[in-house]
């Protein structure tokens, strides 16, 4: 477990309450933290594009040059805190402020809200990476081209037409082929015979096939 730093911050509102400007109002607190950009400290513009949304925009926080922010005027309670940046993803958090002004931050878990996974407070938030909005286009590659069905369709018949007759002309392969043909003839029953048997009487086929085998 990380050690939890609990800071009790008296907001300025509370201060002014002490001065007696506002009466009978619950004290308000300030959540503070800092965002670390993935682009580096010196890059500009990301601070402006980033906003802190508490409870989906009910309260807002804006970033200073160094990435630090405060969200003020929060009564005690439980809040979701998310970082809205169009380019980088940050993990949303839940920040709880107790009645006594104690702060606790934990990872946001909608599924099991009671699971406490504490995060250090004041918040230090680092980007979890660039958001990838776009699908990668397929790159053109020579292998894709060659193995595409259309190319195969064109090349294979060519092969069949051009190469096979050549092979047939070769005397050795001719012999081999003949041998192969003989082998296959020997092992396989005649297809036409089998089909013919199928359509003839039911009892006969067995005998006939036996007979044919005997004949062979």
């Amino acid at each position: 477990m990380k050690s939890l730093i609990v800071l009790v911050l008296l907001s300025l509102a509370a201060f002014s309450q002490a001065e007696g400007v506002v009466d009978n109002e619950e004290s308000l607190y300030v959540v503070e933290g800092r965002i670390y950009s993935a682009e580096g400290e010196n890059s500009n513009g990301w601070q402006r594009e980033t906003r802190i949304l508490v409870n989906g925009g009910e309260y807002l926080g804006f970033l200073k040059q160094d990435g630090s922010f405060i969200v003020s005027n929060l009564p005690s309670g439980s809040y979701t805190l998310e970082v809205a940046n169009p380019n980088y993803y940050y993990e949303p958090l839940r920040v709880e402020i107790s009645n006594k002004g104690k702060f606790r931050a934990r990872k946001l878990n909608h599924l099991q809200p009671s699971v406490v996974n504490l995060v250090a407070y004041p918040l230090k938030m680092k980007s979890l990476g660039k958001i990838r909005y776009f699908q990668q286009r397929e790159q053109w590659r020579i292998t894709d081209f060659l193995f595409s069905p259309m190319v195969l369709m064109m090349v294979l018949p060519l092969l069949l037409i051009m190469v096979l007759p050549k092979m047939m002309n070769d005397p050795e392969t001719k012999k081999e082929m003949e041998q192969l043909n003989n082998m296959t003839k020997y092992e396989l029953p005649d297809v036409s015979e089998v089909v013919a048997n199928l359509f003839s009487d039911r009892e006969e086929p067995k005998q006939k096939s036996k007979a044919s085998k005997k004949r062979q």
Binding site: E25, L28, N55, L63, Q65, N73, Y133, F134, M154
Partner: protein, 1007 residues
Amino acid sequence: MESTPGQRQHQQSVQTRLFYRENSQLYGSTAGAEIATRNQHHNIIPALKSSSIVGSGKSELRDESHRSIGFAVLCGPACGSRIVVVGGPLIGLIAGMALTVASGPVSKSSDMCSKGYYILWTLFFLQFFTCVSCLFEDQIGKFDWRQRYIGKIRFAAFDAVSGTRKILVATEQNVLAALHPKSGNILWQQVLEKDESVQHMHVGKELVSVSGGPRVHVRAWDKTNGLLAWEWSLSQQQSARARWAVDKGRLYHVVPLDGQLEVSAFSLESGFDLGSRRLAAPWTAGGAYDCVLVGATVVCVTQHSFYWTSLADGGAFAEVPLASFDLTPAAVPVLSGVGELAFSLRLPGKQTVFLMGDKGPRAIHEASATASLLATPFDSNIMFKLENKPDSSALQVSAVSLNTGVEVDEYSSTLILGSKFSPCTLTAAICIKDECAAVLSGDDHTISFVNIPGQITWTREEALASIISTEIIDLPVSDLDAAIESEFGSKQAGIVGMVMRRLTSQVMQIKVLAQTVLGLVQPASSSGPSRASLIRDTFGLHKMIVAVTSAGKAFGIDNLRGELIWQIQLPRFAPLHVGKSPVVPLYVLRTTSHVPFTPLCAILGKDRLTGEGLAVAFEPIKGLVLSSDALGYKVQQVMQLPHPDDEFLRGLVVLDDQLKVHAYPPESKANAIKQAASLYMFTTWPAKGTFAGFSFAHSTKQDLVATKVWELQLPDGPDREVVAVVGKNPTERVNSQGRVLADRSVMYKYINPNLIAIISQVSDSSHKYILNMYLVDGVSGAVVHSATHKRARAPVNVVHSENWLVYSYFNEKMRRTELASFELYEGKSRSNTTAFSSKSNSVRPLVEQQAYIFPSTVDTMKETITEKGITSKHLIMALPNGNILELPWMFVDPRRPTVQTGEMRDEGVIPYTPELPIPPDAIINYNQTVNRVRGIHTAPSGLESTCLVLVYGLDLFYIRVAPSKAFDLLKDDFDHFLIAAVLLGLVIASYVTKKLAARKARNQAWK
């Protein structure tokens, strides 16, 4: 879930008020207890799966192998109850039953959802997101555009000190921005809190903004890049007469109290409270006074005297009688600040400018009461005066020397605005050397920049930041097609005339064909918004967006590039209100398809001055106002006639607040009376919680008469609030009438076009808030279904389409947003195969329901719509972080099973996961943030696959989406080259092989 006695009692009261119970078996506490026990057995998933709850009572629908297929009969005829019907023959059947959908305990972790298991599910389920809608990087800006707006100016100032000159503005929409003085483009902008407003802006070393209330934010912004420099906050009493001022590193806040003025001072940068003083001001007691801060001096006026004092040292008020300036006003004058040193005193008829000196105010100039005055900062000592001249549609700008009070002729100029004229005020002015410039803010929310002397160099149409209703309209066909259309359109012409017309149109066709072949005529280009290019295209993707704003202005926008084509001023037009939200009913009375007749749109609103109804009819392609009629009554409800008349005009039927019926335009009354027998209207009184249905069957031949046939009164609860009333899109078509189950049987959808979803919220002592949802048939008043969410509250966003309903709400117990999803089915047989009738339909639909966790809040949502309804439906959701998410409806399908069976897989239903994902490639606006979305409008295109989406709020965003992928269009990256190469290759190969074969045959023959 503990059901305390209090809660039970409340539930009971809800039901007894609403229903007369006949069979209490499934009601009230029984159902609640049922839920409670169930929730203890299962964990996360059953807590959200409410279908199991329903199924527990009567799950009658089983397939042949006696396995429950997930449908539950909500209420058989036995438990149908009746409701008292007001004044009509129809009996509203109620089959309502309160069901708790969500808010179960989801806290305990158990074996079922150990983390690994969950991740596995999620992974499984993400594979369904196989890029249905995502974009490729090279498609940026191809189908979409975004326009950024800031709203109407509240404060503006020139920044001439820092590097680049810019205009700093704070607007009524609570936005701070810097505009480029040459082009008006936004250099930077900061969108502050949503429902607050900027109270003060001060430009010094930094831009200081004071916004909000009663909790006030004081923030300082870097002028060049818009970054926050420092911020602090304080709580203050709210008062319309409170004033803020910044002077010498201090922030002053002046609040009038009873007989006193309280001045609080703060250190500007740290917010340190420097104490407050109360100045005795007995003349404020009656409230008949006005105050203004001029620099660090507070100046007040009553009917008799001026009072002033310095904020810094704070002595007592000094007094000068008004009579010493020869002023004897009849009423309290109005004060307004004129720059840092001067102020003006406005009386009926004239206004006097006073310069504030050490010895008190000194009158220097007199101007007309309507003139807008502003002194430039620094030492130029010039005050600009702007006078509106509506007669000549012009603005008269002149300058007055503050030293002498005499007009300086060299700076006077007349700005002629023509039809775009709207009264303007000066908001910022500056003079550097001899060049002056000013920023004007129009009543129609425009921001204009003027060089003085000179003309307006640019104008920003900020009314587009407050769009209320929009419509996407087909463009008209080309003249040639129109000629062909008109051939069939007219009936008077005889045979000879028809033949002549046919011949001429054919000659025209040949001519156009010849011209295109010879390349004499360029095909209508999409580059310019010229009138000639506003012609319907082949795929129906080019359309016209009509947008009506709350600023009393309507716009026509080209949907392809986002150019403004036309704008019309509606100076007296103000939106109607339903509850707090403004609405402007916008109807297309006649579409662009009926060529000899002009297309026609109508908007209904109220007169800004009298509050009575105002209807404006306009032509939507060219933007011409055809008529603007004061209706003479207040509009309660409006409805469009289902069938057009002989001139293809579908008029409106308007119900006024006295429940009298009117037709608009008046000539469509005959058509309305013709259809009256089958015409029904539904209306609500959200404040009273009353809903009523009207029939027009009792109309006579001369008059339309509305008879109330049913009324539904929501039970009174503490802080009862009707949060949403949503019907279905009348243009929607449902292609598939049923859903094919795994065993090849068909489950028929309950498609009732008259179904209306009503969601109300009540606060409760034990649950804090309870949301109730009722599905009501708008014709018969029958409550088809109802559900209750305990410890749930608004914001509620509803999407109601086809046979399903999805809405988002906030679950208070779990502190998260959830989506509840309902689906209605008739069963395995259809009650009526030809047309649906609310009157004859006695089928109680089977209801599937489920809830899902949504990992963000939802600003607004809408379903996609396509021409024939074949394409699957997606939800377009606007999230508060500025993203627009396209979520397939399949993800919120209430039939998603907790346990994946083979059957469900065959059907293509994804297994249930409690939390929905927000995958980044389903965000259709990629990194173009759309701020403060208020509405989404979807419209079909000519292509079945494609839906046009317009998102409006502070910004405008348009995109077209293809929910089932672009199945009827070639892909963007379709490889024409490869196809051509392969074909060519095949042709060549066949020729070559033919030659080779011939040669071989010849050689063989010679052997």
